[in-house]
């Protein structure tokens, strides 16, 4: 064993090291991040985390905002509504996306850390109950029928369609729904079953709504629920079920969700803005103002239902009062 063979053997180590350095140099060369621009152009970072349902909205807002303020980086994470509030109330993020209002214990955490915040409703989502386009017997369900179908008492007992409504055929029901971690699940169970998180558990649960789309569209006897966008994108394979909450059947649509007739399954989507961040960082304030004044096209780009006139003016005045 001579020294020359030993040297040769350490070549791969050197190769790996060189590669590592080359890669880091690659990343480093993009250092400037486009911070240039005119005299009063803003720069900096707006940190957003929270609900994955609201993420497309804030992402679209960030993208439009970048056209006006290219120096500001808006970045969005998806830790979930609860996970988002946890970091928001520790002052780690500037804005938190939420698919439900903030809870009391989360408010307490924010207060503990001296974080004051403002709640802004930025869009509306219509939770949509869907069946396959091949289903010819379900057009409308009452909220009672939905509760019969999805309530905890249904577990193992309600298995055929005629048990939900005697007019339906005695076919086996196939149930698809979001998993228990989802805000959609929380909202649906709260409105339909009367208590958040309470549901029958013998259904095909998936955190990926596209899986529910495939499951329901594959069988004439299947039923499932998710956000309106997933129905809109797949409306050729799916049929949206009209919901009767006592005042007749109402189909989910932008109009019915906006005017409030699609109840109880239309839900508000929020962002929570840290007042501290908005007053200390002008880019946060500018982003929120931009979000509020461009909310219509932001909602359209993210394929959510825009606010009605009343909600819009509430959003704009609330955004103005921040900071």
């Amino acid at each position: 064993m001579t020294t020359s063979t030993l040297r040769r053997r350490s070549a791969p180590a050197a190769a790996v090291l060189t590669l590592a350095l080359a890669l880091s140099a690659c990343g480093g060369s993009d250092d400037d991040g486009g911070g240039g621009g005119g005299g009063d152009a803003l720069s900096g970072e707006v940190l957003v985390d929270g609900s994955s349902t609201v993420q497309p909205l804030t992402a679209a807002a960030g993208e439009y905002f970048a056209e006006e303020e290219p120096g500001v980086n808006v970045s969005v994470g998806t830790s979930g509504t609860g996970g988002g509030f946890e970091v928001f109330c520790q002052g780690e993020t500037d804005i938190s996306n939420a698919s439900r209002p903030i809870k009391d214990e989360e408010i307490a955490l924010c207060e503990e850390n001296g974080i004051e915040f403002t709640e802004l409703q930025v869009a509306t989502d219509a939770l949509t109950v869907v069946v396959s386009a091949d289903n010819d017997f379900v057009d409308c369900l009452t909220t009672e029928e939905l509760a019969t179908l999805w309530g905890p008492a249904a577990e193992g007992t309600v298995t055929t369609w005629d048990q939900v409504n005697p007019e339906f055929p005695a076919e086996e029901i196939e149930l698809y729904g979001p998993g228990t971690d989802s805000g959609t699940f929380d909202y649906f169970t709260d409105e339909i079953n009367g208590e958040e998180g309470v549901s029958r558990t013998d259904y095909n649960a998936s955190e990926d709504d596209n899986v529910i789309v495939q499951g329901v569209s594959g069988s004439a006897n299947a039923i499932g629920y998710f956000g309106y966008t997933y129905y809109e994108e797949n409306s050729d394979a799916l049929k949206a079920v009209e919901i009767d909450s006592g005042e007749g059947c109402v189909a989910p649509s932008a109009e019915t969700a906006q005017d409030g007739t699609y109840t109880p399954l239309s839900r508000p989507l929020f962002i929570y803005v840290s007042d501290t961040a908005a007053s200390e960082k002008p880019e946060v304030k500018a982003f929120v103002d931009f979000y509020a004044t461009n909310d219509d096209r932001i909602a359209e780009a993210a394929q959510y239902i825009p606010l009605n006139d009343e909600q819009r003016s509430a959003l704009e005045s609330a955004a103005e009062s921040i900071g």
Partner: protein, 298 residues
Amino acid sequence: MATIGQLATRPLKAERNGDKSPASILFLVALWVALSFAVLTLVVLLVTSFMDALPRLDGELFTNYSSQVSPETAGARAAIIGSLWVIVATAVMAIPLGIAAAIYLEEFANPLRWYNRMIEVNLQNLAAVPAIVYGMLTAGLALTIGLRRGVVLAGAIALALLILPVIIITTREALRSVPAEIRQGSLALGATPLQTVWRQTLPSAIPGIATGTILALSRALGEAAPLLLLGGLVFIRYDPNGLFSGFTTLPIQIFNWAGQPQVEFQEVAAAAIIALLGLLLLMNGLAIVIRNRYQRRW
């Protein structure tokens, strides 16, 4: 394919001297069915991903940022650069630490001491801990030392912890396969134990160490769960540019795109899957090349 099959079945045949009993044939058939099922699933997955990805496998995938407003132009630029940052930072932390720990355990530690035995048992256990646990551990650590979650450094710490046991175990394996005569010869010629390790044992073990390390880094490259838990971002339109920069990685970006309702996002997710697959194949290929080029039979 055939050669792998022959290799796999040879010991069975040899042991029982051409055993043709119904039970052993049945077992062989069961093995083949299991193998073909696994391979077939993989092929179907790859082919469907590739078909979905085809319209989006172009330069835009590498040069564009993700886009909510026009999903048909979304690209994985930030994710690819983020993945590189995280993986390089992971390597810088995990490789020296892992190799040093392995050298201590293999060459210097007294296996009769209780603390060395405890380290050994814990290492084996740590290698089997689910990835998400390392994410939670790092989240707690970040909070304690005041590090912002969701930055490259935090992600790299989680991934380094994740692959550290694997690197230590494979490095020890590589060191163990260096014959004792090499060490004894070196010591007999008057080298100190440290010189022996540095100039003889370690260089001889490099092929094994490099292979294990690259495979461990490949695993880190494919992880999403611990990074998601750490607040890895899903939507950024700038290049991650430092240890304290926010980041996204390919697996996070794929996970997010695949869950979106728009077909365009699912296509770009498939394209990103192919890109990630290419990157992983490249790394594993590098591991094989290093092993073949520098391997030495004693």
